[in-house]
């Protein structure tokens, strides 16, 4: 896969997350969120640190947990939307705005 294709794929995931088609959940690993699509593929996004530098990584696995894809292209934005979805940030904000 070219970097351009990876970028396109990540952008598609961002849009699908924003439109509520992908449901992310936090995992036991700090700053990691997981989601599954089409009942076949697992995707994880992770925020990590290496030598004082932050990085964002996307991994995709098949049903048997075999590595299929690993990319860093444009994952920071995907991590942000996945985090908001995974932690139900929108619902919390709406709840506070309506009830406080």
């Amino acid at each position: 896969m070219t970097k351009e294709e990876e970028r396109k794929f990540v952008n598609h995931l961002i849009e699908a997350t924003r439109s509520g088609k992908i449901d992310w959940s936090p995992t036991a690993v700090k700053d990691q969120f997981a989601a599954s699509v089409q009942g076949k593929y697992i995707i994880t996004v992770t925020k990590g640190w290496e030598e004082d530098e932050v990085y964002f990584e996307l991994k995709m696995f098949d049903q048997k947990k075999r590595d299929m894809l690993e990319t860093y292209q444009g994952v920071a934005e995907l991590f942000q939307v996945a985090r908001e979805r995974g932690l139900r940030v929108d619902e919390a904000v709406t709840d506070i705005l309506e009830n406080l």
């Binding site: 449901d23 959940s25 936090p26 995992t27 036991a28 690993v29 700090k30 990691q32 997981a34 989601a35 599954s36 699509v37 089409q38 009942g39 076949k40 593929y41 697992i42 994880t44 696995f61 049903q63 947990k65």
Partner: protein, 165 residues
């Protein structure tokens, strides 16, 4: 009386044709019964399969709940064992009932098994080195999230079960 005697007369003269018609009617009746029996057997088999799915998911949920108790006690070897058990139940459910479950439910099962895999990773670390408080909290939270997803799939399975019964 004359009608009955003429009927007897008709049967006596055309006994072959009458027997053929009776035989045909009997064959149709047997065929209808056989189709009904086959349908009932298929329905029972499908129902048993769906019930078994609900049982498998209930066992997954039970394993996750047990994991919670062992996590609080910091018995990481047992947590690992129970996590492996739960992952195995998820995989069985996906392999055996993947065709029955809707896509949303399959996604939930896959995500739950991924969350469980990360718990297993931490539990394995925990049996070697002491886990930090935040790591232990992450494990507990992840168990709860995995159980929520499994409960959602169980809801789907029960709905399918109810619709078919």
């Amino acid at each position: 009386m004359s009608i009955i005697s003429s009927l007897f007369e008709f049967v006596r003269c055309n006994w072959g044709s009458v027997a053929s018609v009776l035989g045909l009617l009997l064959s149709v009746w047997v065929l209808v019964i056989a189709i009904k029996v086959k349908q009932a057997t298929q329905q029972i088999a499908a129902m048993t399969r769906r019930k078994a799915l609900a049982e498998e998911l209930t066992e997954t949920s039970a394993s996750i709940l047990q994991m919670g108790s062992w996590t609080r006690a910091q018995k990481w070897d047992v947590v690992s064992l129970k996590t492996e058990e739960a992952v195995s139940h998820c995989n069985i459910a996906l392999t055996r009932w993947g065709d029955v479950l809707p896509e949303d439910a399959k996604n939930d099962l896959l995500t739950a098994s991924q969350i469980l895999a990360t718990i297993l990773e931490l539990a394995t670390k925990g049996s070697i080195n002491r886990l930090s408080t935040s790591q232990r909290e992450s494990v507990s939270q992840a168990q709860s999230d995995a159980n929520t997803l499994i409960s959602r799939v169980l809801g789907h399975a029960r709905k399918i079960e109810e619709r078919s019964s």
